[in-house]
C-alpha cells in the first residue's frame, strides 16, 4: 500500500467511525432526553405491564439501551477495522 492509499484508508476509517457514532448518539439522545423527558407525558398513556412507558424509559429502558449501544459500537468498530486493516489485533 503506498502512502496516499494509506492516507485514504485512515480518512475513510475516521469518516465511518464518525458516521457510526453520530447514529448511535442519536439513539442515545432519543431514549433518554426524548422518551424519558420530552415526550414522557405522551408515552405515559401507554402501559408496559405495570409501567407507564415514559416512566419506564426514564428509570429502566434508557439504561438497558445504553448498554446495548456500547456493545454495538464495539462490535461494529471491530468489523470496520478488520475490513480496512487498521485494527489492533
Amino acid at each position: 500500500m503506498n502512502a496516499s492509499a494509506a492516507e485514504e484508508t485512515k480518512k475513510r476509517y475516521w469518516r465511518e467511525n464518525v458516521k457510526l457514532l453520530c447514529a448511535l448518539l442519536a439513539i442515545w439522545f432519543a431514549v433518554s432526553f426524548g422518551a424519558g423527558v420530552i415526550f414522557v407525558d405522551t408515552l405515559n398513556a401507554v402501559h408496559l405491564g405495570g409501567f407507564p412507558l415514559g416512566f419506564w424509559f426514564a428509570q429502566q429502558g434508557s439504561i438497558i439501551v445504553f448498554v446495548v449501544l456500547i456493545f454495538v459500537y464495539a462490535a461494529r468498530m471491530k468489523q470496520i477495522e478488520k475490513r480496512l486493516g487498521v485494527g489492533d489485533e
Partner: protein, 589 residues
C-alpha cells in the same frame, strides 16, 4: 450470633480480604502504580470501574432519593449511566491509544502547554476532593449506625484500610481490591432487593417486580394512589421543569464522562478495542445496581407508609425507634393522639433538635417549633437502603451484608479518587512540570507520599465536613462537565483546536460554573435560590451543561483568532485516532 457481632464479622472479613489483595498485588514501578501496567482484563476493569464509580451516594442515597422524589430522580439514573455511552464512544478508546498515565497528561501534550496541564490538574484536584469528603463521611455513617462507633473512629478505620492498599498497591492494588469490592457491594445490594420484591410482588427479579402487581393492583399504580391520597404528587410524574430535567441529566452525563478517576481506569486495559468493550462491561455491572434502585426506592416508600402512617407510636416497628435513636427519624405528635400521621411538608422548623427528654409515648421530644401542616414524621432519605432489611424483617446477616456493602462502595471510590490525586501531583506537577530530572524511583516515592497526604486531607474533610460540602456534590459534576470533558473531546475530534482556545475554554467554563453554583449554594453570597431566580430555569445542579456550552463557545472563538495547531500535534491527533499499535501504557520519553 446477634446482628452487631455478624456485622463486625462481615466488615472485618471484607477488610482482611482487601488488605490481603493489597499485599499480593504490590506495585513495583510507576507504570504499575499509575495504570496497573496496562494489563488488566476488560471484564475485570469493567468491574473495577463499576466499584470505582458507584460511591456511597449510589449505594446508600440513590434509592432513598428515588423513594422520595419518584420520577424526578430519573435524572440521576439516566445521567449517571448515559455518561458511559459518551465515554465509550467519544473518549476512552482515544485516551487509551494516547497511552500515558493521567488526564492532565493528555491535555498537556495535546495542547502543547504546561499551562493547560496545570489548569487540568487544578480542575482534577477540586473535583476529586469535593467527591472524596463524601466517601469518608459515608464510611463513618455506616460505622456509627451498625457498629456503634463514633463517626470519627469510622473515618479513621476507613483511612487506615485505604492507606494500606492505595499506598502499597497503587492502581494495581486498587484495581483488584475494587473487583472484590464490586462483588461485595452488588451482592449486598441485590440480596435484600430480591427478598423485598418477592415479599411484595412475588416476583424475585426486582426490575420486573416493579412492574408487577401487589394485592391485585400494579405496584406503581398503588404507590401513585397512596401518595395522591396523602396529598403528595404521584410517584411516576415529576414536579421539575423539563428544561431543568434536561440540563441536570446532561450535566451528569457529561460530568460522568469527564470524571478523572473514571477515565483513568481505561488506561489500564491492554488495547483500544478493550477500552470500548470494557466501558460496556462497566455499564452492565453498574446497570445491575441502577435498574434495581428504582424498585428498591418504590418498595421502600410503600413499605414505609404502610408501617408508620396512622399507626400508634407505641406499636411502631423497632427500626423506627433505632433510627430515631440516632436522629435520622423524628416524630412530633402535633394532635396529641399518640398516632403517627404522614403527610407532605416538613413536620417542624429547621433541623431536628432533641431535648433529651422522652414524651408521653416514649418518643424523643423535640424543641423545634411544629409547622402548620399535618405531617408529624421526619425521615432522612439516606436510611432507606440501610433500613430496608429491617423494614422487611430480613435476617440479621442481611443487615450485616448491607453494612459491608456500604463500606465497600465508599472505600472503592475513595481509593480511585486518591490515586488520581496522587498521580496528578507526583506525575503532572513534579515529573512533568517542576522537577523533570527526578528518577522513576523518586517519582514512585512521591506518588506514595502524595497518596498518604491526600488520605489525611480526605480524612480531615470526612471528620470536619465544611458546612456546604454536601450541597456542592453538583460541583464535581458541573466542573468536570464544564472543564475536562470539552477539552478532551475537542482534543480528539477537532484538530484545529489549539492551546489558546483550550485553555481559555477550560478557564471560562470553570469560572462560569463555579460562580453560578457558589452564588446559589455557598453561604458567602446566599443568592436567593429558587426556579424564579435561575438562568432560564436551570438549577445549579444542571448548570454544568451550560458551562460546557460556554467552554465550547469560548474555545472556538479564541482558536479562530490565534495561531493554528502545530503540524506535529495534528500528526499526533491522527495517530490517536487509529487503534493500531496502542502498546504498553508508558511514556515514550
Amino acid at each position: 450470633m446477634d446482628t452487631q457481632t455478624l456485622t463486625w464479622v462481615f466488615v472485618g472479613a471484607s477488610f482482611a480480604l482487601y488488605i490481603g489483595i493489597a499485599i499480593w498485588s504490590r506495585a513495583g514501578s510507576t507504570s504499575e502504580f499509575y495504570v496497573a501496567g496496562g494489563h488488566v482484563h476488560p471484564v475485570a476493569n469493567g468491574m473495577a470501574t463499576a466499584a470505582d464509580w458507584m460511591s456511597a451516594a449510589s449505594f446508600i442515597s440513590m434509592a432513598g432519593i428515588i423513594a422520595f422524589s419518584g420520577y424526578d430522580a430519573s435524572v440521576f439514573l439516566m445521567g449517571w449511566t448515559g455518561g458511559y455511552v459518551l465515554l465509550a464512544l467519544l473518549l476512552a478508546p482515544y485516551l487509551r491509544k494516547f497511552g500515558q498515565f493521567t488526564v492532565p497528561d493528555f491535555i498537556g501534550e495535546r495542547y502543547y502547554s504546561r499551562v493547560a496541564r496545570v489548569v487540568a490538574v487544578v480542575c482534577l484536584i477540586i473535583i476529586s476532593f469535593t467527591y472524596i469528603a463524601g466517601q469518608m463521611r459515608g464510611v463513618g455513617v455506616v460505622f456509627s449506625r451498625f457498629l456503634e462507633l463514633p463517626i470519627e473512629w469510622g473515618v479513621i478505620v476507613g483511612m487506615g484500610v485505604v492507606f494500606s492498599y492505595a499506598v502499597l498497591g497503587g492502581m494495581k492494588g486498587i484495581t483488584y481490591t475494587q473487583v472484590a469490592q464490586y462483588c461485595v457491594l452488588i451482592f449486598a445490594y441485590l440480596t435484600p432487593a430480591i427478598f423485598i420484591s418477592m415479599l411484595i410482588t412475588g416476583n424475585p427479579v426486582p426490575q420486573l417486580g416493579l412492574g408487577s402487581e401487589a394485592g391485585g393492583e400494579p405496584v406503581l399504580q398503588k404507590l401513585d394512589r397512596t401518595l395522591v391520597d396523602l396529598g403528595f404528587s404521584a410517584f411516576t410524574t415529576g414536579s421539575k421543569s423539563k428544561i431543568d430535567l434536561i440540563a441536570i441529566t446532561l450535566a451528569l452525563m457529561v460530568g460522568t464522562a469527564g470524571l478523572p478517576h473514571v477515565i483513568v481506569r481505561f488506561f489500564t486495559v491492554p488495547k483500544v478495542s478493550d477500552a470500548r468493550r470494557s466501558a460496556g462491561y462497566a455499564l452492565v455491572f453498574i446497570a445491575l445496581l441502577y435498574t434495581t434502585a428504582p424498585a428498591v426506592g418504590a418498595f421502600a416508600r410503600l413499605n414505609f407508609i404502610e408501617s408508620v402512617h396512622e399507626k400508634p407510636y407505641a406499636a411502631a416497628p423497632q427500626w423506627v425507634k433505632t433510627w430515631e435513636g440516632i436522629g435520622l427519624i423524628a416524630w412530633t405528635d402535633k394532635n396529641e393522639d399518640g398516632i403517627i400521621q404522614y403527610a407532605p411538608g416538613a413536620p417542624f422548623e429547621g433541623r431536628a433538635a432533641f431535648t433529651g427528654e422522652a414524651g408521653p409515648n416514649g418518643e424523643r421530644l423535640l424543641s423545634n417549633a411544629p409547622t402548620a401542616n399535618g405531617n408529624e414524621i421526619l425521615v432522612d432519605r439516606d436510611i432507606m437502603v440501610l433500613a430496608n432489611p429491617e423494614i422487611a424483617n430480613l435476617p440479621g446477616w442481611v443487615v450485616a451484608l448491607v453494612a459491608a456493602g456500604g463500606v465497600a462502595a465508599a472505600l472503592s471510590t475513595a481509593a480511585g479518587l486518591l490515586l488520581v490525586i496522587s498521580a496528578s501531583i507526583s506525575h503532572d506537577l513534579l515529573k512533568k512540570t517542576f522537577r523533570p530530572q527526578i528518577t522513576e524511583k523518586t517519582e514512585l516515592l512521591a506518588a506514595r507520599a502524595s497518596a498518604a497526604a491526600a488520605i489525611l486531607v480526605a480524612g480531615y474533610l470526612g471528620i470536619n465536613p465544611p458546612g456546604f460540602v454536601a450541597q456542592v456534590v453538583a460541583l464535581a459534576f458541573g466542573l468536570a462537565a464544564a472543564s475536562l470533558f470539552p477539552a478532551i473531546l475537542m482534543g480528539v475530534f477537532f484538530k484545529g483546536m489549539n492551546r489558546e482556545g483550550a485553555v481559555a475554554g477550560m478557564v471560562g467554563g470553570l469560572v462560569v460554573t463555579l460562580a453560578y453554583i457558589m452564588w446559589f449554594k455557598s453561604p458567602w453570597f446566599a443568592g436567593a435560590n429558587g426556579p424564579e431566580h435561575w438562568f432560564f430555569g436551570i438549577s445549579p445542579e444542571g448548570f454544568g451543561a451550560v458551562g460546557m456550552l460556554v467552554n465550547f463557545a469560548i474555545a472556538a472563538l479564541v482558536a479562530h483568532f490565534t495561531r493554528p495547531t502545530p503540524a506535529a500535534v495534528r500528526a499526533m491527533v491522527d495517530e490517536i485516532r487509529l487503534p493500531r499499535g496502542a502498546g504498553e501504557a508508558a511514556p515514550a520519553h
